[in-house]
């Protein structure tokens, strides 16, 4: 019996029992589809995270304040990054392209009759454009001088500019933020949504101005203004480690702490991506188990129906034996049938999985990226399930006594 005939017989047997075959394949279909969908969802999530982190700028270091260092009262307030650290890093560390810092606030912005409520105010430094990779469309960004002098200027995000000024040229106009009058010196180019931040819907002020007018701190007089995160953009990727070391030494010295008791942490984009990935990893493991169990259940379903099929077709088996089929011929035939059930199930599962991933993306609003590996993996698992669970029924069929089988009804 050649392969083509074996396949034809198996196909015929599956096809002539359509509804039963589909029900049998359901477990495999769900298992395979689950593998594909879950990998597509987690790959989509990962891609979003990686993109948003990379979208922050290139070769970026994140220095975070860890404020709660030991003790109560006076001690507790001593730690953390301050605004002066920004200047120090820029001046004393080699290989730095820019250092930027954010101090956020929120207030109303008014121009003429138009007023926008709760606009995000980003207090930052001149290096912001370099570090966060934003472009100025009109006018200019503020300079180091503006920071030093606490100049009352503002740079608008593109959406804010459009809503306030529509057709008018905003440059040089005066707007009121909260109660402070500021001069518009620039408008940023559209950047869109990156890492949950809409760059276009914010306004940008010199950080010193924000400290002074929008988030005055009572501790500023003692050690300077506290900041939560300092962004350092490094010139070249290979200098990252070197810059990390320099920044660490500098800050340890400035804050009068040791490496062990440091009141800050330094992370790279990759560190952050890895942290995010490890959380999606555990989620993926869980779904992987679900898919695996589903495949096994599907396999048991196949075994079940194959055992039924062997019983139902005992006479056919007996006749085939009488006509000269060897045990191995019978075994191959039933194994092929089980394998075909699982492969067709696998194929339908791939279709459902790919379709499901697409649906999650289109309708569910989730980002999904179909991973070719997941298709290969789930399809191979389905095939293995077919062979594994098809073996026992096939063997039982092959070992039937032709006399008994022929007399069976």
């Amino acid at each position: 019996m050649n392969i083509r005939e074996v396949l034809r017989v198996a196909w015929k047997s599956i096809f002539s029992n359509k509804s039963r075959s589909i029900l049998t394949m359901l477990g495999v279909i769900i298992g395979v589809a689950a593998v594909i969908v879950m990998m597509a969802v987690s790959a989509g999530t990962e891609a979003t995270i990686a993109e948003s982190i990379n979208g922050l700028g290139s070769n970026l270091l994140f220095i975070n304040s860890t404020l709660t260092r030991g003790g109560m009262g006076k001690d507790a307030q001593q730690g953390g990054l301050v605004f002066d650290d920004v200047e120090a890093i820029r001046e004393q560390v080699n290989g730095v392209a820019g250092v930027s810092v954010d101090q956020n606030a929120s207030d109303t912005i008014k121009y003429g009759n138009v007023s926008l409520e709760s606009i995000s105010i980003v207090g930052t430094t001149a290096d912001y454009t370099t570090v966060r990779d934003v472009q100025v469309a009109y006018g200019r960004f503020f300079t180091d001088q503006d920071i030093d002098r606490t100049t009352k200027v503002v740079v608008l995000g593109s959406t804010v500019a459009e809503e306030l000024f529509s057709e008018e040229d905003p440059i040089g106009q005066s707007v009121t933020v909260g109660t402070t009058k500021l001069t518009v010196i620039g408008v940023l180019a559209e950047k869109g949504l990156v890492s949950g931040t809409s760059f276009d819907e914010q306004i940008y002020l010199p950080i010193t101005l924000v400290f002074q007018k929008f988030t005055p701190s009572q501790f500023a007089a003692m050690r300077g203004d506290h900041v939560r995160t300092i962004y350092v953009s490094v010139d070249e990727a290979y200098e990252m480690d070197d810059v990390i070391l320099q920044v660490e030494l500098l800050l340890v010295q400035r804050h009068d702490v040791t490496i062990e008791t440091a009141d800050f942490t330094i992370k790279t984009q990759n560190d952050i991506i890895e942290t995010q990935e490890s959380t999606t990893e555990s989620f993926r493991m869980l779904l992987g188990w679900v898919a695996g169990v589903s495949l096994i259940v599907g396999g048991i379903g196949i075994m079940n129906i194959m055992l039924v099929s062997v019983t139902e077709r005992t006479r056919e088996i007996g006749l085939r034996q009488a006509l000269g089929a060897r045990p191995i011929d019978i075994q191959v035939q039933f194994l092929t049938e089980a394998l075909m059930l699982s492969l067709v199930g696998g194929l339908l599962g791939v279709i459902v999985g790919v379709g499901g991933s697409w649906l999650f993306g289109e309708v569910g609003g989730m980002r999904t990226v179909i991973v070719p590996f997941s298709i290969a993996l789930s399809f191979t698992s389905a095939a293995m399930v077919g062979i594994f669970f098809g073996y026992i029924p096939a063997r039982r069929a092959a070992q039937l006594d032709p006399i008994v089988a022929l007399r069976h009804d």
């Binding site: 006749l319 009488a322 000269g324």
Partner: protein, 257 residues
């Protein structure tokens, strides 16, 4: 008479059970069948004729004794070798036809060729051979009908075509007319006579002496032993003659109507 011996059994025994309780379904049976013989096997149920047919059909192996089929001692062969013998040397005709329900007549006839291990024919040649076999039983126009679309007699004729297609040395027929009405039975007997005239060796189990009368030799088995072995040549010829006259009458009547 042709002297080539197709079946020779020497003191064939088949013993069932173990320990003290042993039942001998065959208890030292020795027979010889020559090429071209048309033999009936008769005997009450439990006489061992089924066991004999199973062993002669290479579906079962004797506990003791020898079975020589077409010059080859096959008593000691294993399952795979027996499957080969069944495929190449034997043609089976069953009481209940045993056609595969999901295959059409032609595919059913092709089936034995599918399990051929030597001279595996290409698909077109198989079809041709199967078509020729169907022609010899007069069913070319039913080649693409499923068994359920055929009458009992037609199904049995497909089964006969299937038994012939691998050109076996021996045809084993187990109550081939047992499920059929008189008309269909006559058709099947007529076909068996044709095959016999063309030189086939046929062994047929039946419990109807009318049917057995059609064969040139009748073997009676009782309690696993040979009870009687009588030649029936003259009678068989007469029966065949009568059968053909009846058939011709029916056909002409059918033609007029």
């Amino acid at each position: 008479m042709n002297e080539r011996i197709i079946i020779e059994t020497v003191d064939l025994k088949k013993i069932y059970g173990m320990g003290d309780i042993q039942v001998a379904a065959l208890d030292g049976l020795s027979i010889k069948i020559r090429q071209g013989e048309f033999v009936s096997v008769m005997g009450p149920s439990g006489s061992g004729k089924s066991t004999l047919m199973n062993i002669l059909g290479c579906l079962d192996r004797p506990t003791e004794g020898q079975y020589i089929l077409n010059g080859e001692d096959i008593s000691g062969l294993d399952k795979v070798a027996l499957a080969n013998i069944r495929n190449k040397q034997l043609g089976f005709i069953f009481q209940s036809y045993n056609l595969l329900p999901r295959m059409d007549a032609l595919e059913n006839v092709i089936l034995p060729m599918v399990y051929q291990r030597e001279n595996n024919l290409p698909s077109e040649e198989r079809q041709e051979k199967a078509m020729a076999a169907l022609e010899s039983v007069g069913l070319t126009d039913r080649a693409h009908h499923l068994p359920k679309e055929l009458s009992g007699g037609q199904q049995q004729r497909v089964a006969i075509a299937r038994a012939l297609v691998n050109d076996p040395v021996l045809i084993l027929a187990d109550e081939p007319t047992g499920n059929l009405d008189t008309q269909s039975s006559n058709e099947i007997l007529e076909l068996l006579h044709d095959m016999h005239e063309r030189g086939r060796t046929i062994m047929m189990v039946t419990h109807e002496s009318e049917i057995a009368d059609h064969t040139g030799r009748v073997i009676y088995i009782r309690d696993g032993k040979l009870d009687a072995d009588r030649l029936n040549g003259k009678n068989a010829k007469k029966m065949k003659q009568k059968l053909r006259e009846t058939m011709a009458a029916t056909v002409s009547k059918g033609g007029e109507a």
